[in-house]
Symmetry: C2
Subunit: 391 residues, 2 copies
Amino acid sequence: MLKGKMVIGQSGGPTAVINQSLVGAILEARKHESITGILGARHGLAGIMKEDFIDLSSQPVAQLEDIANTPAAALGSVRLKPGKAECERVFEVFKQHDVRFFFYIGGNDSAETAHIIAEMAKAADYDFCTIHIPKTIDNDLRVTDHCPGFASAAKFVALAFMGDDRDNQALSGVKINVVMGRDAGFLTAASALARQHEGDGPHLIYVPERVFKPAQFQEDVRKQVAEHGRCVIAVSEGIVDDSGQPIASSGEKDSHGNLQLSGTGALGDALSAMLKAALPEGTRIRADTFGYLQRSFPSVVADVDVKEAREVGTFAVHHAATSASNGSVAIKRLSNKPYRSEYFITPLASVAREATALKDVYIDEAGNDVTQAWLDYVSPLVGELPRMGKF
Amino acid sequence: MLKGKMVIGQSGGPTAVINQSLVGAILEARKHESITGILGARHGLAGIMKEDFIDLSSQPVAQLEDIANTPAAALGSVRLKPGKAECERVFEVFKQHDVRFFFYIGGNDSAETAHIIAEMAKAADYDFCTIHIPKTIDNDLRVTDHCPGFASAAKFVALAFMGDDRDNQALSGVKINVVMGRDAGFLTAASALARQHEGDGPHLIYVPERVFKPAQFQEDVRKQVAEHGRCVIAVSEGIVDDSGQPIASSGEKDSHGNLQLSGTGALGDALSAMLKAALPEGTRIRADTFGYLQRSFPSVVADVDVKEAREVGTFAVHHAATSASNGSVAIKRLSNKPYRSEYFITPLASVAREATALKDVYIDEAGNDVTQAWLDYVSPLVGELPRMGKF
C-alpha cells in the first residue's frame, strides 16, 4: 500500500469553482491514513520547485468552505511548461518530503505536466501516484463529457447575453460581445442559452472551429439588422482567418507561446471597425470584451458545476488512496432528465497536451450559429436561468 | 382634481432595476380613478411623437413582476434631446389623447426633458402634471441621496473586482478594469467594496473628478507592484487629462454630443500601453472594460435598490394622482443601521440638466483612492457581499 505525503497544486486559468475541487481533495485526504501529510503548493509547479508549501491538514472546515465558494485559485496558479531541469527539481523536492501522491488541478497543459512527472517516477522506480483533476472554462479536455468550471462560466455568459440583449432591445444597434475561448467555442456557444423569446439575441455566433471571413461577417450582420433592426453577436476571442491567423490580438505571447487574446479590447474594436465600414453611417455599433469576469465572478455559479467540481476532487483522492494508479478524472453523463453523472479514471496520456473542440454537430451549416443538439448538451449543465419578462 | 390619461416612458441608459420603477408606477396607477388610462411610450419621446403606445392597464400582475425583475428598459429607451419642434409634437399628442400625467424615468437629461414639457404645459395653460422618476447607474443626480439603479451596478462592480482580484492573486500581474461613469466616479469608487483582507485590490482607483496624469499613474502603479507584487486598478471610463480631454475614446459622438466611451476597449488598451512603457519588460499587463454588463446583468441586484426603484415609481404616481404638482422624486436617507430611507418631491429644475459628482470628502488626498466616508455612504446601499475565503 502506497503511503506518504501528498502535494496538491492548481495551474492555468482560474475558474469560479476550482477551489471546490481543492477543498474536496483536502477533506477526502484527511480521511486516509495512507496520506501522511497534505501540502498545498503555492502557484503550482513554481511553488513546488521553491518548496513553497502550505500545510493543509488542519484548517477548520468553515474556512475551507469559504475558500470553496471563492473563485480563482486559492493556492495561487501558474502558467509554466516545465522542461527537464524543472521536472528533476520537482522530483527532488517530492523525494525529500516523502511525497507519494501528486494532484494537479488544471487543463490539458496541466495534465501534460502531470503525465511527464508520472513518467519520471516510473523511470526512477519511485512508488508514486499522480492524478490530474480537470478544470477549465474552455471545456476542451478530451475524454470527459465536460469540464468542471465550464458550466459556471457558461452561466455567466448566458446571463450576460440575456441582459445585454435586453439592453440592445431598449437602445437598438449592433452589439459585439467577445467571449473567452482560444481554440474552442464552447463558451461562446453558451451565449445561445440567452434566447427565450422570438427575436432574442445573440443573432449570430462565431466560434474558432470555423474560419472567420470578414466579408461574410459583414453580410451576416447586414441581414440580421434588416430583419430585427438590431443585431447582437457572440464572437470567440480565438477566431482566425483562412490562414489560421487571429483576427486581432495585442501581439504579446505567454510562456506557452500563445498569443495574448484576453485582457485587451483589440478584437472587439477591430470587428466594430469592420462593421462601421459595412453598415449605414450613424449605425450604433458597440463592442464589449467580457474578459476575466467570465472565469472569476463570485456568486454566479452553476449548481451542477459546484457539485461536480467538489466531487472530482474527492474522487481523485479516494482513487489515489485506494488504488494508487495514475490517471485523470473524467465525467460521464448518465442522464439529462434528471441530470446525473458519474466519475471515472482515464489515462493521463488520453487527456494531456491535445485539446478538443466543439463537435460539428453543434455548429450550424452556415457556421454562424449553434444547433439544438448543442442546447441539449449544455442546458442541463448550466441549469435554470431567470425568466426574462416582456410586454 | 386633475383627471385624464397618463403616459410613462423610459429614457437614457438602462439599469438592472428600471423596470421595477415602471411596474411600481403601473400598479399604483391602476388604483387611481383620476388616471383614466395608462399608456406606455415605446422608446420614450420617440414613441410619443409617433403615438407608439402600449396600453398598460390590463397586463396580469405575474407578467409585470417578470418584467420588473428583468434588466434594461422594457418599454424601450431613447437618447433624444428634444428641440422646440419635438416638444410641440409631444404636446399635440398629449392633448389628442387627453393625457394629463407624464412620468419620465431617467437621469438628468430626462429630467430636463420633463422640465421643458412641464414649462410648455404651463405656458399653454394646459392642466398637466409631469413627474421625473430618477434612474441612473451613474448616481449623478442632484438633490437625491442616491439614484435607483446605482446600487445594483455598484454591486456588480464590487463582485467583479472581488473575483478579479482573486484571479490576479492567483496569476500575478497588473490588471486595469475600466468602469462606466462619464463625468462621475461613483461606480468606479464602488470597486473599493471588493476589499476584505489586507492587500486586496483594487490598489488604485481613478475617478473623473480628478485630472488623470499619466506620469503619476505610472509612478503609482510602480509603487503598488513593488509593495504587493501585483496591482489591480479601477479606472472610470471618463478620466480626462489636464486640458479636459478624454485619455482615449473611439472618437464617435452620440446625439447629446457626448463622446462614445463605452462599447470600446480603447481606454483600457491605451492605459496598458502606458504601463508597458513604465514597467519591466515581461510584466503581465491586462485590461478589461466592464462595459454594458454593469447596467444590465440579470440576477445581480442590490436588495435596497430593488425596493427603492419600485417605490420611487409608486411614490411618483401616488404624488401625481393626489397632488397634481410637478417634480422629481428624490430619496432621503434616514439611517444606516438599519438602513432606512424616505421619498420626497424636489422641483424639476433642481435635478434637470446639471449633474453632480463625487464629493471631495469621498476621494483621498492623492486622488488615487476613496475614503472611509465613501465606504460608509455606499455600503448600506449595496448590502451584504459574499465572503471571500483565504488560506
